[in-house]
Symmetry: none
Subunit: 233 residues, 2 copies
DNA sequence: ACATTAATTTAACACTAATTTAATATTGAA
DNA sequence: TTCAATATTAAATTAGTGTTAAATTAATGT
């Protein structure tokens, strides 16, 4: 996995912590930007569109919870993940953090290794979507070691081109658009086949089978009784 | 915790009691609305969507039990808590109250302090339900140290993922949606299995067993003769 | 339009995890 | 204490997918 594709915005009012976090995440390859309060965080996020905002809860100017709410209100940042950092014992609750639209809640102190793995786990739930600057259509989707090139209608796995027929390509594109999310069979039918096209029950399975055979078995996981999800390792 | 975020609807036909209750809860910061019978309670609840309805059982027009049933029938008020007030010795049973969908059952006379702490406890332990802003479906439920991630179809316990088969997942989701509320077996059958699916009596027990084994024994408590409830330690 | 080829769907059966049942033990409220 | 309700375990069943190959349909070139 190439972590350098991911932009992370780190927000904390204490310079030491900011540097400590930045250092540890830079070492892993992430592209780091920093801000030192909630107000700054909101504007910087709007400007650079990070994939993840890692933010202290307690900050001057605008606290993390409020900043998160503002970030959530920005349509452009719909898919931006927000993780909160908080010292154990601070009276902000996990509840408030999630209610504000947070995706994870990390308590300090935390070892760099644990922090990094938590963040990697979070980012695995987010694919990198590259849009056409002109018309806003999706050009590429990257997640794990797969790259979906919608323009060339190709899947690239570790530099190797894999060409897929239409339905398989669209099915994979759908699943990979939100890694880890379980897409129900119904959802898949609606979005790949269309609302009022009726096909037999085994059709999806056969497509999944073919996809697995072509891209590898490990990427698509079955959630019995519900549907399928795309996972990275 | 800022109690002024909470709206409480108080319902009693005796004016003195209504004023006594209102006063004591207003002092604590709650936003209070009142109604003087069940009929009024139902319409007022629909209008203001309170977090909690505190209601006498014995009332003219429409008694508390019936009013509660009507409130429960309103989808918008699914997560509204209902607490009954009843004079000791009145012949309404707790069972009837729970069956009507009540969340707590408080017997009069009660000291203001006790009442207030009971109400605070009730509001505190409600789980946090995070809905998708787009389609209104439930995305996450958080209560105690468990997080139900419906999108990923996973239970997260202290950062650890636990995956559950469908019925177990749905059963846990149901119980956790209202911590401390006792769900009767009938209710569980209706909401997890569906109204007209008939399965043997031990089926629920077996699912509870498996859940307890996977998430830990302490979370689900048996209420003999009635059903099960989810508790946070 | 027709033939050709690839893509998609169906059908039949296999396989496995999930669910249910059944049998027996244990529990807790009256 | 008593006994109905629940717990527990293992076995039986079923629902849901996997898999393969064959049939159908759609796309392409001539």
């Amino acid at each position: 996995m190439n972590w350098s594709d991911y932009k992370v915005l780190i927000v904390d009012d204490e310079k030491d912590i900011l540097e400590f976090l930045s250092y540890n995440l830079r070492v892993e390859g992430f592209k780091i930007t920093t801000a030192s309060n909630g107000r700054e965080a909101v504007s910087t996020a709007a400007a650079i569109k990070p994939h993840l905002v890692l933010m202290d809860v307690m900050m001057p100017e605008l606290d993390g919870i409020a900043a998160c709410e503002e970030i959530r209100a920005n349509k452009d940042l719909e898919h931006t993940l927000v993780a909160f950092l908080t010292a154990r014992g601070e009276d902000y609750s996990q509840i408030a953090a999630f209610e504000a639209g947070g995706d994870d809640y990390i308590t300090k102190p935390i070892k760099p290794k644990v922090l990094v793995s938590r963040i990697k786990a979070l980012l695995k739930r987010r694919s990198i979507i590259i849009e056409d600057s002109a018309n806003g259509s999706v050009k590429k989707i990257i997640s794990g070691d797969l790259l979906i090139d919608k323009e060339r209608y190709l899947v690239i796995k570790k530099g190797k081109d894999i060409s897929l027929p239409r339905k398989e390509f669209e099915l994979l594109s759908l699943l990979i658009s939100k890694p880890e999310k379980v897409f129900t069979r119904e959802e898949i039918f609606d979005r790949v086949w269309g609302e009022n096209i009726i096909v037999g029950d085994r059709t999806i399975d056969v497509h999944i089978r073919k996809l697995r055979k072509k891209i590898g078995e490990k990427y698509i996981r079955t959630v019995k009784g519900i549907g399928y999800k795309y996972v990275t390792v």
